[in-house]
């Protein structure tokens, strides 16, 4: 196992983008970091995201992901509110 940091892209959509003030964040996570770890990191580094992190939906590589999901190397992560298309 490599101990290298995991470089990931985090995309924000709709209300999450408005709150984050950005569309894309590139960051390095600890190996074996989970979605929950990422939410905690975002809430700590961006106060505007503290509240939305409690109810945000997360996807990893185009599939829904959950708090316990371990983030794979180089993942494309997306964070957004419940969908409202149609």
């Amino acid at each position: 196992m490599s101990n290298a940091m995991n470089h990931v892209r985090v995309l924000f959509f709709a209300t999450l983008r408005d709150r984050a003030g950005m569309k894309l964040l590139e960051t390095d996570l600890e190996p074996a970091a989970t979605v929950r770890d990422l939410k905690i990191f975002l809430a700590e580094t961006n106060p505007n995201l503290r509240e939305p992190m409690k109810s945000v939906l997360t996807a990893i590589n185009h599939e829904f992901a959950f708090d316990e999901t371990i983030i794979p190397q180089g993942a494309e992560i997306a964070m957004f509110p419940p969908v409202s298309g149609g």
């Binding site: 995309l11 709709a14 996807a59 185009h62 957004f80 419940p82 969908v83 298309g85 149609g86």
Partner: protein, 151 residues
């Protein structure tokens, strides 16, 4: 190979063209649902809408549309062609925003239910959002569905 079209588009939805694209010589029925931008809302809190601004997480949205099409085929094996399209961008009242077409040999094959399932499911798992703009300002429309593992 049965025709399946799943797409996010910036273009006007071509209802006739899409129907032709998912019709086969064996088809005698097509259930077509399209959603429109509603300019005047009376149900619930009455209000007017100037336009809706749609956005999508395109690669995931198209992948989830394909999943919805697969779910339709699992539930209604009689369905032949499927089209699932969502238009994005700024859309004004009376404009079609979404289109679901299911075709089958006959109308009593579950084809109405299949199209209904398609639009209901799109509103649950396909990552598209809309912002509503009206005389009182703008606000995001938020859904309430929380996907579970495996969805």
């Amino acid at each position: 190979m049965l025709p399946t079209i799943c797409s996010i588009t910036d273009e006007e939805l071509d209802l006739d063209g899409l129907l032709a694209a998912v019709s086969l010589p064996s088809c005698g029925a097509a259930a077509i649902f399209t959603g429109l931008v509603r300019g005047v809302t009376t149900r619930g809190e009455a209000h007017r809408t100037e336009y809706l601004e749609y956005e999508a997480y395109r690669p995931m949205a198209e992948s989830k549309m394909k999943q919805v099409a697969d779910e339709i085929r699992d539930r209604w094996p009689t369905v032949e062609g499927i089209a699932i399209l969502q238009r994005v961008g700024r859309l004004y009242p009376m404009t079609p925003t979404v289109l679901i077409i299911c075709t089958a040999a006959h109308r009593d094959t579950g084809v109405f239910d299949a199209a209904r399932y398609g639009i209901d499911r799109l509103k649950e798992i396909v990552p598209v959002w809309k912002k509503e703009v009206g005389p009182g300002g703008e606000s995001w429309v938020e859904g309430d569905y929380i996907p579970q593992p495996g969805e």
